[in-house]
Symmetry: C2
Subunit: 196 residues, 2 copies
DNA sequence: CCATCTTGTAATCATTCGATTACTTCATCC
DNA sequence: GGATGAAGTAATCGAATGATTACAAGATGG
């Protein structure tokens, strides 16, 4: 209804825009997203988006940073404080799966990584990736080979979710096999989430 | 010089365009690439590109198919015929590394995978991925867990190359550590190629 | 109560892009 | 040797897009 004024502080508005931008950039990529789409997703006008962020590139950079912060925060929240039931890797893995259920988060990260050669975006993407690496090494205490496996599995998961092969698994036998040999016994859980 | 006519059969021209398109789509992505850029990279005019492929989307789809065929052909060429020195996985891995030295090939594949939700492109990307899977399973004879590892490592390699973290490794200690724990003893070889 | 600042929009502009049309040039075949 | 078709381009068009400008409306403080 918006009975009264829809006015909000600029800071709150920026947060709203960033949340909307994660979804839109994730779906259409950096070049494929117009500032007008983001504006409409956030429920405001296009010129205001430009004024709050200066440039489409700046908007994407801040969106990418925002997403990376969410990723790091999710991992940190999954780290054990004292007694534990599951291994650190298992906990991190499950936290990651929950996070990337949000297709926007998943795909915004991937789009960022693929713009490595862009002079403005590349450094932000690389820095974010390195932050994750340091966190796994220094805070989670994983050994090099554990880090390798964790990151590699994560990237394969990303690709399978991004392509949408999980959806094919319902009808295509090979797709089901592929999902099975990637996710093992957890395949049912993943497919249930992917189709949701 | 082009002393005489630069005329070429339409089929040959299509191949030229596809080769140029791999590089351009790889660098700028699907939405970020104009048909005019592809045309100029191929040395012809923009309307001719459109006429030969009908649509930018069709051009991308055929470029993606072309790239996937190159990937499959590279893998098949690396499969052993009879006696062998290295394991199948090692051979495939090395063949893959050589192929994705071409940034265009690498990134065109990744861009394709990330457009999984696009109704025209998504099916092509999924089908290509499944073809690779079937090849590893049926022709290379890899076990499920081997396939899992192979694909996961491949995807991590893709991401590291796409972000360009390898270039940072020369100056950033953590980036060097990350490359080390991913590529192990082969790190020197990869870095040499990445900077080339 | 009015001056000032903040939040926000409508209108508009210059580019860019994908696609179409009309045309030219070369080859080929009867 | 002219007709037919293929190879290729220049010119152009309409739509979309990022950005700017000018302006409206609500808050805030003295």
């Amino acid at each position: 209804m918006s009975t009264r004024s829809d006015r909000i502080s600029a800071d709150e508005r920026r947060e709203q825009i960033l949340d909307a931008a994660i979804a839109v950039f994730g779906e259409f990529g950096y070049a494929g997203t117009s500032t007008d789409r983001v504006a409409r997703a956030a429920g405001i006008s296009q010129p205001y988006v430009v004024r709050l962020f200066g440039t489409k590139e700046q908007l994407f950079i801040e969106t990418l940073r925002h997403t990376l912060e969410r990723l790091l925060a999710t991992f940190r929240a999954a780290l054990p404080v004292d007694a534990e039931e599951a291994s650190v890797e298992q906990r991190l893995g499950e936290a990651y799966l929950r996070l990337v259920e949000d297709r926007g988060v998943l795909l915004t990260l991937l789009h960022g990584f693929m713009l490595g050669s862009d002079p403005g975006i590349g450094p932000v993407a690389r820095d974010g990736f390195l932050q994750v690496f340091r966190m796994l090494r220094d805070e989670a205490g994983l050994a090099p080979e554990q880090i390798h496996r964790f990151l590699a599995d994560g990237m394969l998961i990303n690709t399978l979710l991004a392509t949408g092969i999980g959806v094919d698994a319902a009808t295509d036998r090979d797709a089901a096999d592929l999902m099975e040999c990637t996710f093992g016994e957890r395949v049912g859980e993943v497919l249930a989430r992917a189709s949701a």
